[in-house]
Amino acid sequence: DQQVKQNSPSLSVQEGRISILNCDYTNSMFDYFLWYKKYPAEGPTFLISISSIKDKNEDGRFTVFLNKSAKHLSLHIVPSQPGDSAVYFCAAHSTGNQFYFGTGTSLTVIP
């Protein structure tokens, strides 16, 4: 059973606009959340994380929002650039347990 879900397999956005990638989870014990970015023929690279004690974490163009009551996580990319085109995975874990990954969302930024 998928404990972390990314319901949108793909997303297309114009360059310069905002990209919003969404992630839902079912396990209320999760306390650490991450986003990974994956280019074709490469392994996933860590992008940004957030602890459950926060509701927002920002790093340059990337912001992650956490809504614990809704069990929802989102990644905002502003402004989107063509180099952001990749597959994005969200992941979550609870202390002492393994990471659970979503199925990924393929983002295409159109120049």
Binding site: Y32, A41, G43, F46
Partner: protein
């Protein structure tokens, strides 16, 4: 930067063969992991290790085994390859986390993956 190196980018093996996938990390990380990535299923944990000669099963260990004789090297073994093991295999490493969580509190650093095809 952490470097996680997987020995092969592409492998083609026959059903029944014994297959070795090798992974080496250069950051003295305690923890190492093997995942497989399949379309529509995301990344699923096969095995992990938090110390030399230690191993733990992940979600899908059947048909696989692992070996960790040295801290920097973690090998995945397919004892008798089958077509349903055709997949992208990803190795990852991480350091011990903070706050009392030995294994899971720091980000995973992934290798570039091995695309295995079993025919």
């Amino acid at each position: 930067d952490v470097k996680v190196t997987q020995s092969s980018r592409y492998l083609v093996k026959r059903t029944g063969e014994k297959v070795f996938l090798e992974c080496v990390q250069d950051m003295d990380h305690e923890n190492m992991f093997w995942y497989r990535q399949d379309p529509g299923l995301g990344l699923r944990l096969i095995y992990f290790s938090y110390d030399v000669k230690m191993k733990e099963k992940g979600d899908i260990p059947e048909g696989y085994s692992v070996s960790r004789e040295k801290k920097e090297r973690f090998s995945l073994i397919l004892e008798s390859a089958s077509t349903n093991q055709t997949s992208m295999y990803l190795c990852a490493s991480s350091s011990y986390g903070t706050g009392g969580s030995r294994l899971w509190n720091s980000p995973l650093h992934f290798g570039n993956g091995t695309r295995l095809t079993v025919t």
